[in-house]
């Protein structure tokens, strides 16, 4: 194709635009100097300081708790939701409503949930964060699972039933396994979304249980430090790893 030439440069430029800022942060994280922008030599000392930083470690712990709980809850609810809206509802209004949290602005969802929790006097803390994250992660899981359900031959479930399986058996032996690629992708996506989520956490969390993004936010507000660079690099690497794993597992399981 002849169009690649000029457009190829566009693509290269966009990739540079997207990755250069991130790359700079990672390079700076290995800078020995405490003054942020003067390179004085390679060092990993900011990483070791990071692992001694109690608030960072506590944030990480909270984020992992929230991330894993959100992942489990949103996968179970999201898959059921997807089955519900694709199989048992022909109303497009219901379908749109169920997927709405993925589209409405996070700020609107955040204050809405804050208002809801305060209206029923539910104390803010990790529980409210998990519930809130589940609401919007579930919508993403449902969207992915819905795509997969629409791909699956509806005759598969009928075939299992025809061969003598009970409806319950069909669900666990045929429906769930054929949704597996979507379940894995959805689980990893839910975890990543929850792990990096800031706005909703900011509004629905209590003061005593900061998650990692909250910790990062309070650090960033005080300016650029080599320690943030190190933390940022690790978090970036972690997210990238999860996304790549999910891409891979989806591809693998799709070939089944």
């Amino acid at each position: 194709m002849t169009g690649v030439g000029k457009l190829g440069w566009v693509l290269a430029a966009v990739c540079f635009f997207l990755y250069a800022p991130i790359a700079i942060v990672i390079v700076m994280s290995f800078n020995a100097s405490k003054i942020p922008f003067q390179w004085t030599g390679f060092s990993t000392k900011w990483y070791s300081e990071l692992f001694a930083n109690a608030s960072v470690l506590e944030g990480l712990r909270n984020s992992l708790i929230v991330g894993v709980s959100t992942m489990i809850l949103s996968v179970v609810l999201g898959v059921l939701l997807a089955i519900g809206i694709t199989r048992h509802s022909t109303s497009s209004a219901v379908q749109a409503l169920a997927l709405a949290p993925a589209i409405i602005p996070d700020l609107a969802l955040a204050i809405g949930l804050l208002a809801l929790f305060s209206a029923i006097s539910f104390p803010l803390g990790l529980t409210t964060v998990i519930l809130s994250h589940t609401i919007f992660c579930m919508a993403f899981v449902a969207a992915i699972a819905r795509g997969r359900i629409l791909q699956i031959d509806p005759a598969l479930e009928e075939a299992a039933l025809d061969l003598g399986d009970t409806p319950r058996g069909v669900f666990f032996r045929v429906t769930v396994p054929s949704l597996m690629p979507a379940i894995i992708a959805g689980a990893l996506l839910a975890f990543t979304l929850s792990f990096d989520e800031f706005v909703i956490t900011f509004f629905t969390n209590g003061p005593s249980t900061p998650t990692l993004p909250i910790v990062i936010y309070s650090m960033v507000r005080f300016g650029v430090t080599p320690e943030i660079n190190a933390l940022a690099s690790l978090v970036l690497l972690f997210s990238v790893a999860i996304v790549l794993i999910s891409q891979r597992s989806v591809k693998l399981s799709q070939s089944i």
């Binding site: 005759a155 009928e158 299992a160 025809d162 003598g164 409806p167 045929v174 054929s178 089944i256």
Partner: protein
């Protein structure tokens, strides 16, 4: 012949549109039965009702003396081979075929033995550990077939079993299905829109249209003695001339008279069905016309000619007498050939 399946006055409507309109059929033990019809004729709905995936508005389905209308699909002694095959993508060939036996909680040894021997029967003995996506279309079909007969159902239902296959594979599979039906001794009920498929495989055929059964007969009977104009038109190629009989001639509605000495009461409206082989092209032919198209088959050629008979006439000529489009032609048929068909 014993009646295995008695479908009695079955009706089913979707959104007030009748998919099955008072259908009655009897299918015999060990029969190869075909349900033939164009799309929308209700044949798939009938098949799904037999499998238990569609409930009935009225009527009974009696299988081996038992009314199965309220028996859920997983408890019916009937298995369905799906048009899409519906092979479980996350299982091997062996696991697919073993699925039904495992639900019956058969012992491991028996399952292994029955699955292995059946896979050998359908020619897939060395494919047991394959995943279904590694198979060709024909192989997938054999797996689907094995999976559906491994439980030895009283009836095997096949939904358009050959429609996804290439022409060559399809011809092989037609023979294969016949052979297998003899070997396993199961009653087969095939749904198809392809009359050639139905004619070549089935012992008896039910022709369906618009939710109704138009005729049930053997393939030869359907071809030779169609019960109504729809069947005459749908089965095989024919020229259907509409008119009324009077003194040994058929009076068409446009006033033209053609030979027909078949017995029928004078004055009644009938259709005269002429098969292409009933009509001959001859210089002495009394009916003249113009060739509008020719379809060459090899041994012979189907000619379509406009002869002023309200509809074009279709007839066969030998491969040495093929006319060209636009040629003038003369045709004739004997007064006692063809079949008189009445509206049912």
């Amino acid at each position: 012949m014993t009646v295995l399946l008695d479908i009695h006055n079955v009706s089913k409507a979707f959104d007030q549109l009748a998919a099955l309109d008072n259908v009655s059929l009897q299918i015999h033990t060990n029969e190869f039965f075909a349900i033939l019809g164009p799309s929308g004729s209700g044949k798939t709905t009938l098949l799904r009702a037999l499998a238990g995936f569609e409930s009935l508005d009225s009527g009974q389905i009696v299988l081996d003396g038992q009314d199965v209308a309220d028996v859920p699909p997983n408890e019916r002694p009937v298995n369905l081979m799906f048009q899409s095959y519906a092979l479980f993508p996350h299982m091997t060939v062996f696991d697919n075929v073993a699925y039904g036996l495992r639900r019956e909680k058969r012992p491991q040894g028996e399952i292994a033995e029955r699955v292995t021997s059946l896979l050998a029967t359908v020619g897939l003995g060395d494919m047991a550990t394959r995943r279904t996506h590694q198979l060709s279309g024909g192989q997938k079909q054999r797996v689907a077939l094995a999976r559906a007969i491994v439980k030895r159902p009283k009836i095997l239902l096949l939904d358009e079993p050959l429609s996804a296959l290439d022409r060559k594979v399809r011809e092989d599979m037609q023979l294969e299905l016949k052979r297998l039906q003899h070997e396993v001794g199961i009653t087969f009920v095939v749904v198809t829109h392809d009359q050639e498929e139905a004619m070549s495989m089935a012992d008896r055929i039910a022709v369906m249209d618009q939710g109704r059964v138009e005729q049930v007969a053997t393939p030869v009977e359907l071809y030779k003695n169609p019960g109504n104009p729809f069947v005459a038109n749908f089965i095989g190629t024919s020229t259907l001339l509409r008119g009324h009989l009077s003194s040994g001639r058929l009076h068409l509605t446009n006033g033209v008279k053609v030979p027909c000495s078949l017995p029928s009461e004078d004055g009644a409206e009938i259709w005269l069905m002429l098969r292409p082989e009933d009509i001959s092209q001859t210089p002495a032919g009394a009916i003249t016309g113009t060739v509008i198209s020719t379809n060459f088959y090899g041994p012979n050629c189907l000619v379509v000619a406009e002869c002023g008979l309200e509809i074009p006439v279709k007839y066969l000529v030998g491969n040495s007498e093929v006319p060209r489009v636009g040629d003038a032609t003369k045709i004739s048929w004997a007064g006692d050939t063809g079949v008189v068909v009445r509206a049912s």
